[in-house]
Symmetry: C2
Subunit: 153 residues, 2 copies
Amino acid sequence: MKLVSPGEAAANTNDMSDQAGEDFVRIGEMAKKYGVTLRTLRFYEDKGLLNPQRDGSTRLYTRRDKARLKLILLGRKVGFSLRDVKQMMDLYDPTGSNTKQLRLALDKSEKQLARLQKQRALIDDAINELSNSMAAVRQMLSERSALQASAAR
Amino acid sequence: MKLVSPGEAAANTNDMSDQAGEDFVRIGEMAKKYGVTLRTLRFYEDKGLLNPQRDGSTRLYTRRDKARLKLILLGRKVGFSLRDVKQMMDLYDPTGSNTKQLRLALDKSEKQLARLQKQRALIDDAINELSNSMAAVRQMLSERSALQASAAR
DNA sequence: TATAGAATTGACGTAAACGTAAAGGTGCAC
DNA sequence: GTGCACCTTTACGTTTACGTCAATTCTATA
């Protein structure tokens, strides 16, 4: 099995294997490409979210893995836990209509959306409270400096 | 030192000690009053945020402690860590102008406000992404059911 | 062939704010 | 004299998503 040399991995005009252009990528490049650490990729694998092939002990990521990683990162961005992401991805069946998967995703998404909106409300609250407190503190500080000024007179 | 009997603690027409009406409250009532657990109050004490007096081994909270707890809860609400809250409270000096304390509080508040606004932006982002994804999923689901309908025909 | 760069597994550490026993004292209403 | 509500301390557990070594192996290249 031919590997992509670390330096020229970007220029991938490699062997076409079985059917399509399978461009394998090792963990380092994968990490760089998606802005995650090696640890993260291994962690996701450990959690069953990724399943790269192996060349001996070296992980080889294909575009399937890239698609999955993109999904994981999207899920993470919108606040899903990795468990949720896994649950949804585990339902994926390349031979079916994936209606169940889509329904689950929609269901989870609705709940997550509600959570996000709640969080937003909490943050707005916090911002207001904090702004008020800051105004009060500024007020106290200006009073104090006024006192100092009159004392220094 | 006279204690408030557990049942009638609300009706506090007790002994006026030294100067003011020192109404002592035990941990249970304190917790109920502020909607926190006993564990929380002990935890805050352990972290140096509260310092109730003792009658033997029993904690007695005065209005000083209540004021401090209110501050803690406010801080928590606006997203400060307990460490931050402690730092700010530790600067309190009943005999001074507390200018330093106020400045620190203001400084921390500005940073926290920035964090909150950033978080808000992130959440808004997430909400948008999630909404988009949901629309896409709904689209796919409706296509699927259309297919099913035509197949069942 | 020597060395640097990339990869591996394993395993403990981290952060925050408490939760949750376990095992035991104290006072009071009956 | 007992049951019950209340209080105490000690100390390990929880959660999530990795970070951070450590020790080792593999591979490529000068």
